[in-house]
């Protein structure tokens, strides 16, 4: 565990921003902190980056609690660095910006020169050393900020929504660059984002926040494919999330019995991925263990996929089919259909 936040609460102007947050990041991870805007990601990162002190709780660096003041705190802070959502550069040249973190650490001149050139090469800004920082474009600015942070060879690099202010093209480049830098340097990355694609393409582990609390923490797969709460299920885009009563027969949802592979009992939730649901005109014998009949209530186009809502008694189940399947089966509103899905496709939580 390189960084651990324990029972962190934070208040600002009498408002509770964070409540009892526990979080741990392992060495070498690319940790993504997700959650809707305003859920407390930035506040949490400021505490993690030792820029703010929490109202209660403590921050541990390499299992050592960090005091609220004094030399030890500064030493710990010097092991991590934050790149803000909208980075600001200091007056002066790109070089003078990048070298600053080394200067304040009293690094010798020749070492500074060597490290700065090295890091400028890493972010493809070799020619930019003498450029005035105020003449840079948005993407260049972001890269200088990144170089300025990386040059001090931190143990932890904290990134607060680095892609929000960039256009799609630059965003793509930055994501690829971050991925490369992470594998090249071995630095532990901690990045806040509200974008799934960022999280999915970069993250190795992560957490989702909601109203100042951690909703779920785990590997990226766990978060996206095994959400632990209805909020998480809808947050990661799951459809067909239903409350259910679990017993020995299966899960009872609105009088339907849905079979699953979990051994859960009592009250809980289940989710059926729309792409796992097969829609057909006739009752077919398949290996799927869940079979229901229903009426199509709507057919909606969502991108290249069609989303079909099927009313199965009291339950509205959504399935997604391809365009060709739609026309092959000639599915239209008001039609009686059969739907089926595997017990193993049902996610229980």
């Amino acid at each position: 565990m390189i960084l651990a936040l324990e029972n962190i609460s934070q208040r600002k102007n009498g408002q509770q921003i964070l409540s009892d947050v526990n979080l741990s990041v392992s060495r070498g991870e690319f940790f993504v902190l997700m959650g809707p805007t305003g859920c407390g990601k930035t506040t949490l990162l400021r505490i993690a980056g030792l820029l703010d002190k929490p109202f209660s709780g403590r921050v541990k660096y390499q299992s050592e609690p960090i005091p609220h003041r004094g030399k030890e705190r500064l030493q710990a802070r010097r092991r991590m660095v934050t790149v803000f959502q909208r980075p600001v550069l200091f007056r002066g040249s790109v070089f003078s910006n990048v070298e600053w973190g080394l200067r304040i650490r009293g690094i010798p001149e020749d070492e500074i020169n060597r490290k700065v050139s090295q890091v400028l090469e890493m972010v493809d800004l070799v020619e930019y050393g003498d450029r005035d920082s105020c003449t840079l474009s948005g993407g260049e600015l972001q890269r200088v900020a990144l170089a300025r942070a990386l040059v001090i060879e931190p143990s932890i690099l904290i990134l607060d929504e680095p892609t929000t202010s960039l256009d799609p093209n630059l965003r793509f480049n930055l994501l690829r660059r971050l991925k490369d830098l992470h594998s090249q340097t071995g630095i532990t990355f901690t990045m806040a984002t509200h974008d799934f694609t960022d999280a999915l393409s970069l993250g190795t582990a992560g957490a989702v926040m909601r109203n100042g609390r951690i909703e779920q923490m785990g590997t990226i797969d766990e978060i996206f494919y095994r959400p632990s709460t209805p909020f998480m299920a809808s947050f990661v885009g799951m459809k067909n999330v239903f409350p259910a009563e679990f017993n020995a027969d299966g899960a009872i949802v609105e009088e339907l019995i849905i079979r699953h592979t979990s051994n859960k009992r009592g009250h809980g939730f289940l989710a059926i991925p729309p792409e796992a649901i097969v829609v057909s005109r006739e009752a077919t014998v398949t290996s799927e263990r869940n079979h229901f009949t229903g009426i199509i209530t709507s057919v909606e186009r969502t991108g290249s996929i069609f989303s079909i809502s099927v009313d199965c008694g009291n339950l509205l189940i959504i399935s997604s089919v391809t365009r060709s399947a739609l026309s092959d089966l000639d599915l239209t509103e008001g039609q009686d259909v059969y739907i089926s899905f595997k017990a193993s496709a049902v996610h229980v939580f």
């Binding site: 500064l74 802070r77 991590m80 660095v81 934050t82 803000f84 304040i104 105020c134």
Partner: protein, 231 residues
């Protein structure tokens, strides 16, 4: 009107020919005001930093008090310093009254709110971005403060210049605690006040033109700085 034109003509002559009296007064005024400004800056820029970078009860109130004191009447400061350093006052043993040092002390107090207050404004104008960036890059408190100061240097320099402008053009302090002693504590403003009372138009105009020139240099520099601040 003729008297005025004649006054201007003689005044210009005095300035061009480098009249020793006029220039010794101008030089003395400059020495006193520059000394006061440097001392005030050395003390009150750090004070402004301390106030800005610390959180404490009544901070907002303190800042608004400081801003109110921007326009404290000079004679009030003069009176205060007089009572302080007069032989009968608490600092009387220093024997400072009626000396250039007394004027310097008064002007330091006079421009302290301007320098501290405008330093606070300059630092606030920077927002938290710079200080956060500096801290996250590993700066200690002092390194962070120095960085923010350096980033807002034009505005801070403006604060210092505004202070100098007020010091050089004030009269209340100079006349009350300086005493307008010829060759010792006579400044541009007190000399003008005396000269006008005596009907010495030309010398007063010459001194006034120098004072105006100083004020204009300050104002132009401030404008230039603020322009370069905006970039």
């Amino acid at each position: 009107m003729d008297q005025l034109l004649e006054g201007f003509r003689i005044a210009l002559d005095m300035i061009i020919s480098g009249d020793p009296v006029v220039f010794s007064i101008a030089f003395r005024t400059l020495m006193i005001s520059v000394t006061a400004t440097v001392i005030a800056a050395l003390i009150f820029i750090p004070v402004g930093c301390l106030i800005h970078f610390n959180r404490f009860r009544g901070k907002r109130f303190l800042v608004s008090i400081i801003q109110t004191l921007f326009s404290v009447p000079t004679v009030l400061v003069g009176m205060l310093v007089f009572l302080l350093i007069s032989r009968a006052g608490p600092l009387g043993s220093l024997g400072m009254l009626f000396s250039p040092g007394a004027i310097v002390l008064g002007e330091v107090l006079l421009i302290a709110p301007i320098i501290a207050g405008l330093t606070i404004s300059a630092l606030s104008g920077m927002g938290r971005d710079i200080s956060d960036t500096a801290l996250s890059l590993g700066a200690g408190q002092l390194q962070m403060i120095l960085k923010v100061l350096s980033e807002s240097r034009y505005m801070v320099l403006t604060a210092v210049l505004m202070g100098f402008g007020r010091a050089v053009s004030e009269i209340g302090v100079a006349i009350i605690v300086g005493g307008n002693i010829s060759g010792y504590t006579r400044t541009l403003t007190t000399a003008i006040a005396l000269g006008v009372g005596k009907g010495e138009t030309a010398a007063s105009i010459a001194l006034g033109m120098i004072l105006l020139a100083l004020a204009m240099i300050v104002s132009v520099t401030v404008n230039t700085l603020q322009h370069s601040e905006k970039r």
